[in-house]
Subunit: 239 residues, 2 copies
Amino acid sequence: MIEAHLAKLRKRDDISAEEEQAVRALVADVQDVPADKVFIKQDKPLEVSTLLLDGIVCRYKDLKDGRRQIAQLHVAGDFVDLHSFTLKRLDHNLLTLTDCRIGLVPHERLRDMTERFPHLTRVYWLMSNIDAAMSREWELSLGRRDAAAKVAHLFCEMYIRLGVVGLCDGNTCPFPLIQTEIAECVGLTPVHVNRTLQEMRRQGLVELKAKRLVIPDFQRLKDVAEFNPNYLYLEKRPR
Amino acid sequence: MIEAHLAKLRKRDDISAEEEQAVRALVADVQDVPADKVFIKQDKPLEVSTLLLDGIVCRYKDLKDGRRQIAQLHVAGDFVDLHSFTLKRLDHNLLTLTDCRIGLVPHERLRDMTERFPHLTRVYWLMSNIDAAMSREWELSLGRRDAAAKVAHLFCEMYIRLGVVGLCDGNTCPFPLIQTEIAECVGLTPVHVNRTLQEMRRQGLVELKAKRLVIPDFQRLKDVAEFNPNYLYLEKRPR
DNA sequence: CGGTTGTTTGATAGGCCTCAAAGTCAGTGG
DNA sequence: CCACTGACTTTGAGGCCTATCAAACAACCG
């Protein structure tokens, strides 16, 4: 399952055999986490990072009154809290949205990597930066896109990202989020997401059932969302 | 002026004399940029990063119809596009909001740093990660805070960040953004920002004139914003 | 087949937007 | 010193998009 992670890295730069070895050696332990579990809490000191091997995880923050904002979604192959290596604690929670399998990576080993593998360090730094680029794109969505574009953009992003790690099947991909969770991603209420989805279905933009997303015409969905994958940096370059 | 940058780093970790030398040696050139200039354009290949020595810069993205979202603000001492070192191009524009002085840092030198100074590399990686943490907090603002809390939160953040680099004066700090720019930060229209500001002034939460922000009672402003500075990671720890 | 979780519907309300025009102010030039 | 200008702020009226609250419906499950 770490193959997804390597695929993701190799989409952006060459990874030598020796580096691949080093990557594989990062994972000290593999664990299963059931769906709907907050497995890392905001502000708690951390000494281990989490590599997502399978499932969907989200980062979220919330306000006192309970309103919740999902800041990012993660799919298999994502290093969901690589940033805790330098931050030492997180400013958000990590929650499984499905049953997940995770790999635990002691910060010790990451530190060692930074001492011995400068290039690999740059690649992981790059991964953090791509994460940040996604947050910026979400800021644009949250601040300026209307409801339909918000939802459409989320679908486009997930379809592409799941494709990178080989989880798409034709014009279809897994999409296990419930409407409330979609709402928490795009800054709407569940009721409004429901109505937006109905309208999108009516227009034939998407189908969403049985936890799968079907996109009959990706170009049309992209147009609605003003989706441009540039911010995902899906290009191989020496770093 | 690079002192602001060093102060910012030292707020988070110790920087040795040798490392300080290395940091100072990063800057190849210093330039002045007038206000209101897009000095880095989205998607353009880059080989130099920009350190902000003085002034205010923003990162923004926009939609076809011209709606603009500012994704982040930068103050003196910020490495405004450190991430271009690994990304090789940016997914956003960089715009000066005031007259600025910038330091140019060839990626070549950053690369060299990653080969020779693993600890300094971790510190800069940390800085990227703090940037990303700010984006997440903005996502929460954009998605879930109401108008007054959005504006209040922006003020709190800027007041703290300007304080870190020594630009606050008592309960006052520079705040050169016009209302339209505030609106572009928080995802509102200029008109609504105007009304929100009036209400905040009426309640004695802030004064804003002559490009300065006055905060009579920071605690009260924090309460309105639900501001918690944890996400800025203002703590010194070995990284 | 109840119980639970998630989706859908309806009615109403409100926060923020839109568009347009007027007001303020600092800077400029005669 | 005072019109003039351009940039920014403020005001007004009306409307729309999304929120709110409540209840009904559907689907899954042991």
